[in-house]
Amino acid sequence: MRRWILWLVSLSLLFGLTGCSDTAPLKEKLIIEGIGVDYAENRFEVTLQVYAPSTEGVSKKGYQTFSAVGETLYQALRLVDENTGKYSYYSDTKVVVFSLDALQKGLWNNVEYFVRSSEMGSNVALAATRGRAADLLTVEGEGNNIPARVLSNALHYGKSDVGPISGELMTVSAMLVNDWGEVSLPMLAVEKKEGKGYPYFDGVLCFHQDTPQYQMTEQEKWVYNWMHEYYDDRAFVLPYDNHLYALQIRDSKRKIKVYVDKDVPVFTVSLTLTCDIMETNSAHGVVLTDLEDLKTKMEETVSNLTRSTLQQVAVTQQCDVFDLGRTLRKQHHDFVRRAGDLSTALKNSRFECITEVIIARAGQGSVDE
């Protein structure tokens, strides 16, 4: 008798505690892969890209799109569930894209729901776009990749070991709520080719507190990548000795030290770039004796670019997207406390940049003496 009672109790616990009683079948769920947030006429418009395998006979593209409009982001998202009669499942969301118009309403207004949601992963990638976010969710993929995954790959530069450039939900929300630095979001855009849209990385949008403040230039993006130790396969073109050298930056390391000189923080940024020479635009190719001068020229260019970018972005635009404030807080906490907040502490900062360039390879081409 006791054994039967035990079996009964165990079975009831098994079915109760394993969530069997609280499930929704897959067909009743909307598996959200990507979210686009737009804003127009005082309302948020959300576009949800939902995974829909073509075997279901619903979509040959492998995804479906649903939209809704609401006064707040949460209201719009809930309306999608109401309109479709299905339950939105956010745990698989890869990317959330915000239009500039939506971001003008305040970054916290856009991300708050995602921060509070227990389903949304802390490392979901956030991005911005100048146009409509909904358009980005229709970019072409290759093979079976749906747009949201294509966008996520674009943010990873196609490398699995490089994180999205600083646009993770946890980083963004932490910076917003705490005085630990400013937010930066990668910008994506769509390029149309033969009637199809392809995503590309369009720059970095820097925020001052809650508001979009500044978009980095093409050259400044380099410094952003170096300072975050990201690397991609873009060519860095360096004019030297009447030729154009195209270099591939393979690796970047940075160290930041800071000292306070009469209440002025002086940052010493040390960059070490490892690069390969891929093109020389000259008939004689790479000459060993030129390498030293090329290295010096590259170091000078990188140092000047880094100094000007830090000055423009972190000080003039007050967008500390380079972890300078956090470094200052770590190394000189008392100075930050006396200044009151990080923005004030960084106001008159000066920068010294030391660059070391290591030319690792010259491709397969010959290297002459």
Binding site: L6, S91, G121, M170, S173, V177, R326, K330
Partner: protein, 367 residues
Amino acid sequence: MTSNQRIGAGQFFLMIFLSRVVLTLTYSINSGGHTISNADWFAALFMPLILLIMGVPAFVFLHHSPGGDLCDFAFTLGTGVGKAVSLLYGLLFLLLTFTPVARFSFFVTSTTQTEKGEWFFPLLIMAAVSFGAAKGVQAIARTGAVLAVIGIAAIAAIVLALIPRMDMLNIYNPLAGGIREVGSSVLLLIANSLELSMLYMLAPHIRGSVKKAYLGYCVTAPLMLFLVLFTVMAVLGPYATLQLFPFYSVAGIAKIGELTNLSALEASVWIVGVFAKCALYLYFSYRCLSKVVSLPHRWMWFVLLGSLSAIAAAMSSDNVKKAQLNFSVVGSLWINAIFLIVLPLILTVAGAIKRRKQNATMDSMVG
């Protein structure tokens, strides 16, 4: 306790270790208004010494007690004293049973999107816990020992998986917020260190060196605390202050190969830890209260106490304000002070005085 209820010193160590670690995993920003910061992992470095000092009254008591647990010793001072102490400690252990269940229920209903009400999980968990408690301390200790090893492996796996995500910029001088912040963290860690209560109830029935087992706990538990708290701060940084259960959130970011979102692993360790810990505390509650009141059958105690715990857990976690009480630092500090230090010391001194009087009486009779 009969001889078949004796447990090994290693089992005892693993039980108290598991009990403490479970509490750390369930660290919440609701903890008495305390905000997680770099001072927390720094405070963990002081805990070995603090735990050693906290253990002194317990070992003084054990040295003077004739072989029974705290309640048995109280009965040697008089039936009234024995019943009063048994009642107080019985209620204490009941509190220590339902509080982790309430915390777990609060966690599940706020972070895992379940639609279940506040009664569901306390009822289910207490059903299992009551069954476990009824099996006795040996069964609980054996189970707890296995679960502790699994728990250690799981936490180690999560911490190792998070190493690539650690950013040392999130770690800054723990004294930056002042000594007060470190002091607040130390008090929080002390408030959550109620495992000494297990020592009072189990020590006379442990095979092997109790001192070595407790010493091992004083070293390893703070080390685990340090690892967990340091990992949370290094990975999440300021984001930790936005998370209700930071270690659960950080486990969600961990990945090992293709295995992502290890928060389920963390929640599993939590569940098994809660089961073992609460089963033991419920058993202690039965041991104490059965000395005050008698019921016709032993199993009735576990049904009664299990039901009371389930009701208390459900009622104390059904809204945010009440749930905060389960994390109260001040309340826990008072419990620590009164039940784990002051009362045992009073009983020890009273016992010593009584023995001296008895010896003096015997000497005068012989003389």
